[in-house]
């Protein structure tokens, strides 16, 4: 025990003790206040939402299954028409998936470019890094619905407004995730390539992309899953695809509940399949490709 602190005078210990106890008390009070605040916020928020809602939580709770029951009852009656409905709505489903796929692809490319331009050590114009960061923040902040509805006004209905809206948002959110990946990437290969006289494109493509590609792809797959949901929901509020069909079937109600059930099922299966595929692939990418970040 060569350390001098072992012989710390008794008064030193006293200050450490009281300091620690004081800190612990502060932490406890702080934690307690935060907890109470959180519980109060949850309770007050719930009561407020409950009061401002048409139906109350207590009143509606027992009726959650009324609507699904209605739909399933009719779907059960017309079970024979189900395969026909699947065929009928398959093109709409494809459109929804296409919207998601294209926007994810565009988002992947755009996000990758943006994130590289916004990372120190990789940026083509280091002074413009904050500009690209802000652009990404901005893209990320725009809810898809805003862009989609405005573009529907300009471009007319169809898949393109939804695609642009989702792509724009995807560029922002993937860009941010990619930036984090980039920050963890090793810049030594880039230096190595600089030293051989490689230009910016070569430096990034050969020095950065091989390092980050598995993580990029993994995030993009996660995004694809999210984008399928987004594309369905945008269909519901005005863009095309399966969401549009679902809205019409659901709105009509009795008589088309079998259609609604078929669409539900298609959408559900698609989401589950993509979800499982993407998690399997992501697992492979991050684990199989060795030491990715994370």
């Amino acid at each position: 025990m060569t350390e001098t602190t072992a012989q710390a005078p008794q008064s030193g210990i006293e200050t450490i003790r009281s300091a620690y106890l004081a800190e612990m008390r502060m932490k406890r009070i702080y934690g307690g206040v935060l907890l109470i605040l959180f519980v109060a916020m949850m309770a007050a928020g719930f009561r407020l939402a409950d009061a401002r809602n048409a139906g109350s939580f207590a009143g509606g709770f027992t009726h959650v299954f009324d609507f699904p029951a209605e739909i399933l009852a009719e779907a059960g009656e017309k079970l024979g028409q189900m395969p026909g409905h699947f065929v009928e709505y398959f093109p709409a489903l494809i459109e929804t998936v296409n919207i998601a796929a294209v926007s994810t692809l565009v988002g992947l490319l755009g996000g990758a470019l943006m994130s590289v331009l916004a990372t120190r050590g990789m940026a083509l114009w280091p002074r413009a890094i904050p500009v690209f960061r802000r652009i990404m923040d901005f893209c990320r902040a725009i809810p898809e619905i805003v862009v989609a509805l405005v573009l529907i006004y300009v471009l007319g209905g169809g898949p393109v407004p939804a695609m642009i809206a989702i792509a724009l948002h995807t560029v922002g959110s993937l860009g941010k995730l990619f930036s984090e990946v980039n920050e963890n990437a090793d810049l030594k290969p880039v230096e190595g390539l600089t030293s051989v006289g490689a230009n910016w494109g070569q430096r990034i493509w050969l020095g950065v992309v091989p390092q980050v590609a598995p993580n990029y792809l993994s995030y993009a797959l996660l995004r694809l899953e999210i984008n399928i949901r987004a594309s369905a929901i945008l269909g519901f509020v005005g863009a095309g695809g399966i969401g549009y069909e679902l809205k019409n079937a659901i709105s009509w109600g009795q008589g088309k509940y079998d259609n609604a059930a078929a669409i539900f099922l298609l959408l559900f299966l698609t989401i589950v399949v993509v979800d499982q595929l993407s998690s399997a692939l992501r697992h492979y990418l991050t684990k199989g490709a060795g030491h990715g970040h994370d």
Partner: protein
Amino acid sequence: MTDAATATTATAPDLKATADRLFARKRWIALAVPGLLLLYLVYVFFAFDIPGLAQRARLDNALTLMRDSYSYKTLVTRDNRADKLTVAIEGERKGTYPPGQEPDWVHVDGKVTRIELPKGAEVTYTPEAITFLVPDYGTVTAKIVGRKIETTLPPGPTPDWISASHTRLMVKAPEGRLTVTRARVEVARYFPGWEMFFFTLDSPYFGHSFADLASHVLSGQRIDPERGNLAGIWHDFWRNPVWRHAEVAWAIFETVLMAFLGTMGAGIIALPLAFLSARNFTPTQGLRFGMRRVFDFLRGVDGLIWTIILSRAFGPGALTGSLAILLTDTGSFGKIFSEALENVEEKQIDGIRSTGANAVQRYRFGVIPQVVPVLASQLLYFLESNTRSATIIGAIVGGGIGLLLTQAIITQKDWEEVAYYVILILAMVMVMDWISGLLRRRLIKGK
């Protein structure tokens, strides 16, 4: 260089062949992957009818939208049947100038009304005819003769911004828009800015500058003798009947509330369930499998469908939206949390176990401190992204800023209102993003 020396050159040709094969494969991949993607994009290009889109795209709509989002129009309308003149901002009742107090660019002289437009353009209503003097073009005259409208244009081809028929005349000059039908005549003059954003015309505070208002507040000299200045100003601004700041604020709050309740509720429900589906905490495979499928189901059904299903039970409103977010996110959190739990380090738990701690204490000190950062950061991440989702879900369940936005876009009346909502939504999301980032850094880094 012992090994270098012993490496025989005899192996070099083999190695070269191997390398050639390697590069042939690499090249193939390097070309095939982009090629496939390109093919897919070409397919989508036609599947989405992008060529047709180029024709259908209405850039003039975009221009209208742009212009409307930062400017407003004042309408000078003459009802031909009742022979009544009204001057109203955006045609709103709350923006109607009292008769005799028209703005200075509208000159009423008995039955003759002269309306000054920018750049020397001018419209005159007389009982007999309506004339529109368009600079660099000439004068357009319209007469209502019996059931018909007779229009006289300057010589030459009719420009595309004039649309005339015997029932209707419309002139869309850059200086203003004139519409003539048998029933009424209307001129719209555009001004930059958001009209009546602070006060409507009927408020006594309308037309006062900021400095002016501030000086009144400071001096205590009442603008409206009925009320104190500050209270009055606040009331008239907050209760502004055109922009409805109070209700918009509530809508924003409601959106955030939906996201907050949904996300946090889901987190609270998902945490215990996640233990049930984590391999290292629930050895019963059947239970684990069951829990996982429940999570998959909740997630797979998706917020959209939950929204629809819950609308019946709970009716329109924010609670329905929160519950929809809650159900979907319970699925997502269940999955994420259980993965986090499966990744906990055994070392720390071992350390606690070795002191003789019981199971609950092991979880409390060995597990919770490890997973809290993951949980907290995921919760905050979802909170931020759910603020965006809540905007859309609100549009479906009828609550929050999403409803206001979609309705304003669909009815296409006031693009400045749309612009206002969009700005508010962006600000809301960015603030949530900022708060969530701040809290994340605090919770994870500890300082």
